[in-house]
């Protein structure tokens, strides 16, 4: 063995400390991956998928000329961004509450001059166990929320009342 070869061998000699360090680094990386798979991935139930979000628009007057149909694009008034596409529309005479003349009791009635319109909107987003549904990955949307939306022939505030993942 020449003196030069000896010198090269000395330079690349791996000490016990190097081995311990490399093993520790690998263990840390493995721990990080494990944490991601167990916690982050478990928390994120569905990513980048289509959801059906149900909304109800109450007491839309028949005379208002408002119209919403399947296939319409629905936009959020806040930010003027696309919320999703209307997948289903159902209408019924608007419900309202009134006090009975004799007993004063609160009763439910129907108004044929106005409509309660329920729509199902297809929205892309992600669902997590802890924080729920994020429409388009950014906007938190949950039942009970009132969203101010519009399409080309419609503009109203609607109550979110249901959310489900699209199943093929």
């Amino acid at each position: 063995m020449t003196a030069n070869e000896n010198s090269v061998r000395k330079k690349i000699r791996i000490s016990i400390i190097d081995v311990i360090i490399v093993i520790t680094v690998l263990a840390c990386i493995a721990g990080g991956v494990l944490h991601y798979r167990v916690y982050e991935n478990n928390n994120k139930v569905i990513t980048d998928d289509v959801f059906y979000v149900s909304m109800r628009f109450s007491s839309i007057e028949n005379s208002s000329g408002q119209k919403i149909e399947t296939g319409d694009s629905l936009y959020l008034n806040d930010g003027k961004v696309l919320l999703g596409t209307v997948n289903e529309v159902t209408e019924e005479d608007a419900s309202f509450y009134y006090n009975d003349e004799v007993t004063g009791e609160l009763k439910k009635g129907k108004d044929p001059g106005a409509k309660d319109i329920s729509v199902v909107v297809e929205i892309k987003g992600e669902l997590t166990k802890e924080n729920g549904f994020l429409a388009n990955g950014v906007k938190y949307v949950a039942a009970g929320m009132i969203l101010d939306v519009y399409s080309d022939m419609f503009s109203a505030k609607g109550l979110i009342f249901d959310l489900e993942a699209k199943t093929e």
């Binding site: 400390i17 190097d18 007993t103």
Partner: protein, 172 residues
């Protein structure tokens, strides 16, 4: 004149070892952070002033179609900033009772209303005591009468606090 090399120990450190040690320390810190930071839960600092509380929030006269959106164990968080306020340990939906004036008998009466429901949720968390019967969780005051906008994974609304119980005592 020749330079004489200093005698080295068996396990001498070089610059690579130092850098790798630094990487280890940072990696361990990162892993510890990832494992122990789970949103707002970990943010509630414990001190002598920290109590485990159960508080009740209510929302009245909701449309009936909003029934069944809350689950046991759900996180409840502030709508602004999504700061953790605790976890659901109990909930119920009941038919709303509304007061009305009976013009015939000229008395106030009450009855349940079709398609209207009341939501009651019990939440468990650790909280800092601010004053007698007043607690704070992640910047949100919790006391009877406080109204706040909250979110759950599948539901959101404006609720009012109707009771606060400290483990071992009740503030109602």
């Amino acid at each position: 004149m020749k330079k004489t090399a200093k005698p080295k120990g068996k396990y001498s450190f070089n610059i690579i070892d130092v850098l790798l040690l630094l990487v280890i320390v940072l990696s361990v810190a990162a892993i510890v952070f990832l494992f122990f930071y789970e949103g707002g839960d970990a943010k509630i600092e414990e001190s002598d002033n920290t109590y485990e509380i159960v508080y009740t929030v209510k929302q009245e006269q909701l449309p009936g179609i909003l029934r069944g959106k809350i689950n046991m164990g759900d996180a409840m968080f502030t709508l602004q900033g999504q700061k953790m306020l605790g976890r659901v340990i109990d909930f119920s939906y009941t038919n709303s009772e509304v007061k009305y004036f009976n013009p015939t008998d000229k008395v106030m009466s009450s009855s349940s209303v079709e398609d209207k429901i009341d939501l009651t949720v019990k939440v468990n968390t650790k909280a800092t005591k601010v004053a007698e019967n007043i607690f704070e969780v992640n910047g949100q005051l919790i006391s009877v009468g406080q109204t706040f906008e909250v979110g759950f994974p599948y539901y959101t609304g404006t609720v009012v606090c109707t009771a606060v119980s400290v483990m071992g005592g009740v503030n109602e």
